[in-house]
């Protein structure tokens, strides 16, 4: 269970507050106008943005003292999710051990993860030799190996076409189901939110609202969301 307890983020003249709970195993879309603070909210949970007030708790544990890499979560950014000078295998291996000193069993797990995302045999390639969709799959294979209970997606598939994006979201859903992960996903596309996330958090006007059923939210949008959706 993820608890944002009277959270307050201040960056210059920008303020974002949040005070809600996300149940374990939930898939939640984070929607709202651009610049409202969707990415900032995820960055705060991941440990990249300091909190002005409040706490972030995972299963009762305060995350504040934990550096980003030690938090019980994996995050995929909008871009730069792979190191361009490391092979696919090594990029995935980082999910098991950041110093890449993998034993035989761990190497086998890397190969299995690669196969799981449909990229068997491409382990020796560099990221630049892969398509955008394949790069996304490599990042997801790493998520699979890290096996953290919380997964944050900051629009990692925004640059992909609609069909490919849908395919990736299905893969995310499968992986989340396999690992039992709770997922927070920033989205610009109402259709993605409907397809992927039963719950949605609306970030608008300096506040992240508690999760609400996605379909109801999109069908009956509050004014800030309606303006963003163009209705």
């Amino acid at each position: 269970m993820l608890v944002l307890d009277r959270l307050r983020i201040v960056q210059d003249d920008f303020t974002l507050t949040a005070d809600f709970t996300v149940p374990t195993g939930a898939r939640v879309a984070v929607i709202g106008p651009s610049g409202a603070g969707k990415s900032t909210l995820l960055a705060a949970v991941a440990g990249f943005v300091p909190l002005a007030a409040g706490r972030i708790l995972w299963n009762g544990q305060d995350l504040a003292p934990l550096p980003p890499g030690a938090r019980p979560l994996s995050i995929l950014f909008q871009d730069q999710n792979l190191f361009p000078h490391l092979t696919v295998t090594r990029n995935i291996g980082l999910g098991l051990r950041p110093d890449l000193r993998l034993d035989r069993a761990q190497q086998a797990r890397v190969a299995a993860a690669l196969e799981r995302v449909g990229l068997a045999g491409l382990g020796a390639r560099l990221p630049a030799q892969l398509s955008g969709g394949q790069q996304g799959r490599v990042a997801l294979a790493r998520v699979l190996l890290r096996a953290r209970p919380l997964l944050l997606l900051d629009e990692p598939f925004a640059a992909l076409g609609p069909a490919l994006k849908a395919e990736m979201l299905d893969l995310v859903a499968e992986i989340a189901a396999e690992t039992g992960s709770t997922v927070l996903m920033v989205s610009h596309e109402p259709a993605d939110a409907r397809r992927f996330a039963p719950l949605s958090v609306l970030v608008a006007e300096g506040r992240a609202a508690p999760p609400a059923p996605t379909a109801a939210l999109l069908d009956n949008p509050p004014p800030a969301l309606a303006a963003y959706l163009g209705r």
């Binding site: 991941a46 440990g47 990249f48 550096p67 980003p68 890499g69 030690a70 994996s74 995050i75 950014f77 730069q80 999710n81 190191f83 361009p84 000078h85 490391l86 090594r90 980082l94 999910g95 950041p98 110093d99 890449l100 560099l126 630049a128 790493r142 890290r146």
Partner: protein, 518 residues
């Protein structure tokens, strides 16, 4: 964080070491200088000459750089890239080799005086102020040209497109686009050359000298080496340091944005410069600059290459010593620069101070550093035993600013591009250095190491303070050969030195570029 807490501590330690070496040696020197009675007339003359030659060198270099850079900016021709790359060569060219080349062109029996004699005109001398000026312009015109050329390249193509659409000619383009850029760029170029010429030693040693053409740096050397007047050397060193510090402050103060804004990197289309007269003018400027910069080097090669087979044994020994010094100095410089740069990027608040500490080498005279180390270490070791270790250390500190400048932007980019990804994966400490920082920094590290190696290889400075026959480096050996008028052997040694300097630079630079991944 890239290096974590341990990395930041190492960086702070390096900064402390640099402070001790620069300010600490100065303090040692100042402590010795107390006994001195103040500056004598000869010392004032040295101070005046130092300022005069540096100001004149900077002015001439900057003034000549404008037409040369404009010609390069306006023209696209085959070999342009090669020529511009060659313009960068004098920076890593050993000064003593440049001097030898200039002597072959402008010296008493050089090409120019041969021609003047044939025409029945009076000869010109390359010694004294004019000689120092010619050498400094030769060594620094390329730097000034590159700085000004960067200014031209930074004018967005869209401005020239707009100028063309409004039918502006060369005069209007000059007034509205080029002059604001020059006003922003030229002071920086002037100060850069001025600072470099303030601490110029080898040029003054070979072409200057005498009461009328002695720089502070040369006066320190003479006080130390010939009179063994430590307190006078120390006093002069203190004056030199104050001068360098003031100049560095000046350099920091003159940077000023041109306000021409950013563009979308469209190709530049210079319709304003299409007239035949401007083409001829630019062609003549480029040809003259290339002749001035390349002819002395061609003369060295022409005279020296046939001598390579007959070089005396001590030259080869000196060459081996020089290579060892250059490699050790490069290793030390990189070992200092890397943790310092990482800590400077990591520590938000203290970072700027760490960077400034690394840049102190720019404001430090190598002879001051050497004198200070001598004062400090004299009770413990014989000076001749110090010659090579001190040279390694001083060369590393002097090259540090250039290596830092190569590393810092790359490290900042790395942090901006992959910092969060690395942190989210818990990639830290040595694993981060091994898997991320070093592989991604290969190119700037190779380039920086190449610069450090070439600068150290060609250095004729602090080594001259301490060396005896057993510890001569190749540049010093070359200087001795010139002093003994063994010009053939000198030319051969110069070619060897040139080859080794460029070879070391290229080896490191290429090593950094090889299979670094896309």
């Amino acid at each position: 964080m890239i290096g974590g807490r341990g990395g930041a501590l190492i960086g702070l330690g390096v900064a402390g070491l640099i402070l001790c070496l620069t300010l600490g040696t100065l303090a040692a020197v100042a402590w010795r200088a107390e006994a001195a009675s103040g500056l004598g007339p000869a010392d004032w003359a040295a101070l005046r000459f130092t300022l005069l030659q540096a100001a004149l060198s900077a002015t001439v270099s900057a003034a000549l750089a404008v037409p040369v850079a404009r010609a390069f900016a306006r023209r696209r021709f085959r070999g342009r890239g090669v020529l511009i790359a060659l313009l960068g060569a004098p920076f890593i060219l050993p000064v003593i080799v440049a001097v030898l080349g200039l002597l072959a062109v402008f010296g008493r029996s050089g090409l120019m005086n041969d021609a003047l004699r044939a025409l029945g005109l009076p000869e010109v001398s390359i010694y004294g102020l004019q000689g120092v000026l010619v050498a400094h312009v030769f060594l620094n015109l390329p730097l000034a040209t590159r700085l000004v050329l960067q200014g031209w390249a930074a004018i967005p193509a869209e401005r020239f497109r707009l100028a063309a659409s409004l039918g502006l000619g060369p005069a209007e383009v000059g007034r509205f686009l080029e002059r604001p850029m020059l006003r922003a760029v030229l002071p920086g170029a002037w100060v850069a050359v001025f600072v470099l010429c303030l601490t110029s030693f080898a040029v003054a040693l070979t072409l200057g000298g005498g009461p009328a053409a002695t720089t502070l740096e040369l006066a320190i050397y003479q006080a130390f080496r010939f009179d063994f007047d430590l307190s006078r050397a120390a006093l002069l060193a203190a004056v030199q340091f104050a001068l360098c510090l003031a100049a560095a402050g000046l350099a920091a103060g003159v940077a000023r944005p041109a306000g021409l804004g950013a563009g979308l990197d469209r190709p530049v289309d210079r319709r304003d410069a299409g007239s035949p007269w401007l083409r001829v003018q630019d062609g003549a400027v480029i040809a003259a600059a290339s002749l001035f910069l390349l002819l002395p080097l061609a003369m060295v090669l022409l005279r020296g290459v046939p001598q390579l087979g007959a070089l005396p044994g001590p030259v080869w020994e000196a060459a081996a010593r020089s290579v060892a010094v250059a490699l050790a100095s490069t290793l030390l410089c990189v070992a200092l620069a890397l943790p310092l740069a990482i800590a400077a990027v990591d520590l938000r608040r203290g970072g700027r101070w760490l960077e400034a500490a690394g840049m102190l080498g720019l404001a430090t005279s190598p002879l001051v550093l050497g004198t200070g180390l001598f004062v400090l270490l004299r009770p413990l070791v014989r000076p001749a035993d110090l010659a090579l270790p001190v040279t390694v250390l001083v060369n590393a500190v002097m090259a540090l600013p250039f290596v830092l400048r190569a590393l810092l932007p790359a490290l900042r980019d790395l942090r901006a591009g992959y910092g969060r990804l690395a942190e989210s994966l818990g990639l830290a400490g040595m694993a981060r250095l091994r898997l991320l920082t070093l592989p991604r920094l290969r190119a700037p590290l190779g380039f920086g190491a190449g610069l450090a190696a070439a600068l150290s290889m060609g250095d004729l400075g602090v080594i001259a303070l301490f060396a005896d026959q057993r510890t001569e480096t190749l540049p010093l050996q070359l200087y001795r050969l010139m002093g003994a008028y063994r010009m053939d052997a000198a030319a051969g040694a110069a070619v060897l030195l040139l080859g080794l300097s460029l070879g070391l630079f290229r080896a490191f630079d290429r090593g950094g570029r090889g299979h670094a991944g896309p």
